[in-house]
Symmetry: C2
């Protein structure tokens, strides 16, 4: 059976977030041929959730007028922890999932290879293939959000541990007896420099009356203090908001300095909503902190860049990773 | 021409230290067939120094009754900074060398491929091929001495930057406004947890009268407070010496915890004279500190071991790396 795309293989990338799903279909030249976005709806449970993923892929194929036997592979980026080899989601707390053999379920349904990978890894692989990290030998990505995601692409491949992903830059220890962390530890980088940690500092400043713009538009609920609000507050002159963000960026830079000393990357990519809202501030402050703290011999050996694919990086990277795994 | 080793290729590994040179010759089964150790004699200058290396290799071949045309390759481990691709020692302050094209000089002299690599990398590659890190997928080495050496073997290869070596664990920032470091920075791990840093703390304690054994046998000159002296002082009951070493080991462990979170090694090797003098103490204290600070999901994913090749690791690893580069 032939269809509008000819006879080449097509690839699907699926970004399974805790709150959103983003699915994209690519032709063999990696042009976008279709996309679907949905909420993840955690309350449905595992079976209904997997069913939604399968239905989403089926509809994406239908809408794109592509026959399923044309599928070269499916890549799916998921929050961890994962068993990468077997393609099992070991735990996905936001959706209440445990031990979901997603690779096997998708391969059975669609009759093509499927690959499960960490969502930060797939996003960074997307930036490597199509975005800010193209051409890099060693590219490190840092994505401050609710937590802080980290990833590395080394010589064209996602750098991973034996069974799971790694590059957990957000969990590098930076403070003895520091704030509690979601991972069960305390004093990890993300307890002081994630968007969530900075939002909490901003909420405290608002409560103290030091951030009038924030207090007016968001109150003291840190769930309301999002990337856009933070940018607006800085533009509106809330000086302490700018100081908090710059200090968080500085702390990211200090840990990145140690990471440069360890891994000698040629490209460092900063991404996520907050960085994309304030790209100039982050490039400046993170860049200054890295340069101030690395070994002098590593100065000028790397470029610091802002991610360029936005929310599509995960789906694009997952599809490209599936192709890499199938075609090498 | 035939000789006692038959017709297989032989390999030479050369460890060029700031104070000592160690050269070893291996047959194709990597059995040791000869060795020479010499002082490095910095005062001679570059030409005489290179001449000594060449003469040393010639004598090693003669003593082992091996014809030079049997040489498969020469590996040479050197302190940095290096240009690895071109095999140039950019700077070797202890010997007063600058821009020495060692690879080219050795290849011209011996008519076989030569490979320059970082001395910590070659030592760790030796541990990977023949010692404590055999069979590892991702092995990280940490060697506290005058500074702190770090290295990683990943999927059978030395992990390197684009032009030079990396894994500078000793220069991960651990303290704002910390002690000055030899690299030009301050507050690097090695300013608080190298043998040199710990010896200085011990010398202060001796000066204050808190380390009576040290004061008696070494005085307050930190150059006299060597690994053996430190072990003896602990055995003799200088409590503060033990506390200082345990605290240094703890700080190594905290930085290794961050490194585990980043790189998910399956093996971590601790080495160097001080660790080899006090293996139990280091395994215990570093192990405790890593476990106390890593992400809980990485617990039990790695083994902590003490290096097993001692001073020969560098020459063995350099020879094995030369073979790897030639034979793949």
């Amino acid at each position: 059976m032939s269809d509008v795309l000819g006879n080449d293989r097509v690839w699907i990338g699926f970004d399974l977030g805790g709150t959103k799903m983003n699915a994209m279909l690519f032709d063999s030249a990696f042009e976008v041929r279709g996309r679907r976005r949905k909420k993840s709806r955690g309350s449905e449970g595992v079976d209904a959730g997997v069913e939604r993923i399968i239905l989403g892929i089926q509809k994406l194929l239908e809408e794109s007028e592509v026959s399923p036997d044309r599928l070269g592979g499916i890549g799916i980026g998921c929050p961890g922890p994962l068993n990468l080899e077997e393609g099992v989601i070991l735990e996905l707390p936001n959706l209440g999932w445990k031990n979901v053999p997603l690779k096997r379920l998708l391969e059975k349904e669609f009759g093509c290879p499927a690959f499960v990978c960490n969502d930060v890894d797939s996003g960074m692989y997307g930036e490597f293939q199509f975005g800010a990290a193209q051409g890099a030998r060693t590219a490190i990505g840092l994505f401050p959000g609710t937590g802080i995601g980290g990833a590395m692409i080394f010589e064209g491949k996602i750098f991973r541990g034996k069974t799971g992903s790694c590059l957990e830059i957000g969990h590098v220890p930076v403070m003895a007896d520091g704030p509690f962390c979601g991972c069960g530890q305390r004093g990890c980088l993300e307890t002081v420099a994630s968007r969530l940690a900075m939002s909490a500092e901003i909420a405290k400043a608002a409560y103290r009356g030091q951030a009038p713009y924030i207090l007016r538009v968001a109150g003291t609920d840190l769930a309301n203090i999002r990337s856009g609000t933070i940018k607006e507050a800085i533009d509106a002159g809330d000086k302490i908001v700018e100081a908090i963000i710059r200090d968080g960026a500085r702390q990211l830079g200090v840990v990145l300095a140690g990471t440069v000393n360890l891994l000698a990357p040629d490209v460092i990519v900063l991404g996520g909503g907050l960085v994309e809202a304030l790209p100039k501030l982050f490039l400046e402050e993170v860049g200054k902190a890295i340069a101030a703290r690395i070994m002098p011999s590593y100065l000028k050996t790397y470029e610091l860049r802002v991610a360029s694919l936005g929310d599509d990086s995960g789906a694009m990277g997952a599809a490209a990773w599936a192709r890499h795994c199938v075609e090498g």
